[in-house]
Subunit: 193 residues, 2 copies
């Protein structure tokens, strides 16, 4: 097991309905030294990509993205979720379905901050069905930029998001891939990488 | 002028209605090396406080808080905005009015991540009327914790939030205090500190 799998094993809580709570270190309280290890590891996995921008989505992706960005010496842009557009100026918009909240949101990025010269690493905390990620990819594509890679903390390997993204040819790296969870006895099975 | 005032002068855009756009480096695209300078400066200003936790609020506070946290070797907790409570377990709740969106939100933090042993530095990007900040202070207080300090990137000195918080005796440090702005010619006047 790598450092993140060990931490999930130690502090993650499995709930009914394939819910994995990691709010003590990843997405409510945030362990910055863990994020630094993640940054180092993403830098190793994407060592040869000419990344000049990190893209993430509010809210829980932002902390990881900011720490990871130090290892790539790149600025972070975070996509905003909105029911209605209220940033002024021109923006890229993608429609995204939320698994957690069972609703549709728009995801928006100002056109000022993404363009054809951008070589983007997309960072997020979770990948499940991949709707948010597909929205971010479509925004980079609309901007004429290049998705150099996608770095995810925890992928739910039993949902289809990761497979679809890999089938499409993207370089997707998930630090921990959960293949199954059992809420009754709290066990988590990780995919061998 | 300090490094942040210089950056605001260079890249900030003044709009009608006392709006200051700093989305190219602070709260949409984020300049991580700028955030590191902010972290160093907050560490200098709060050098003697026994800070063991950073508290911020989603979304635009998170990036700054995570970089600042490295200088205090402390975890970050971010308060979530919600129209309705949907985190399970017990949580602290404060009612907060949003200046930008003209609506009321609940701000919530899980009770697991704040308690009587916590000596908290609150971090946020903007301070205007101070409603969000008051909500965060009330949450720390409800948890029995201690607010050791409040670190803000940009304070709108012509609104009442900062004065109220200082009158209440809190150690508030704003890296840039804007005393006035003029949308017509784009000038920004900073308070001498």
């Amino acid at each position: 097991m790598n450092f993140l799998e060990e931490r999930i094993q130690k502090d993650g809580i499995v709930k009914e309905g394939n819910v994995l709570k990691v709010d003590s270190f990843l997405n409510h309280q945030m362990d910055i030294s863990l994020f630094e290890k993640m940054g180092e590891e993403f830098k190793r996995r994407f060592a040869n990509a000419p990344i000049n921008k990190i893209l993430t989505i509010e809210a829980s992706g932002i902390g990881i993205a900011c720490i990871v960005a130090k290892y790539f010496d790149a600025p972070v842009v975070f996509a905003k979720k909105s029911k209605s557009i209220n940033i002024d100026g021109e923006m890229y918009v993608a429609e995204v379905e939320s698994f957690t909240h069972k609703c549709k949101n728009q995801v928006i990025v100002s056109k000022k901050f993404l363009g054809p010269d951008d070589h983007v690493l997309i960072i997020d905390d979770f990948l499940a069905n991949g709707c948010a990620l597909q929205g971010l990819i479509s925004i980079v594509s609309n901007a004429g930029g290049t998705v150099e890679g996608i770095g995810i903390a925890i992928e739910k390997g039993f949902q289809s998001g990761g497979r679809t993204i890999r089938n499409l040819g993207y370089h997707l790296e998930s630090l921990a891939i959960v293949d199954s969870m059992d809420a009754e006895n709290g066990t988590i099975t990780f995919r061998e990488q």
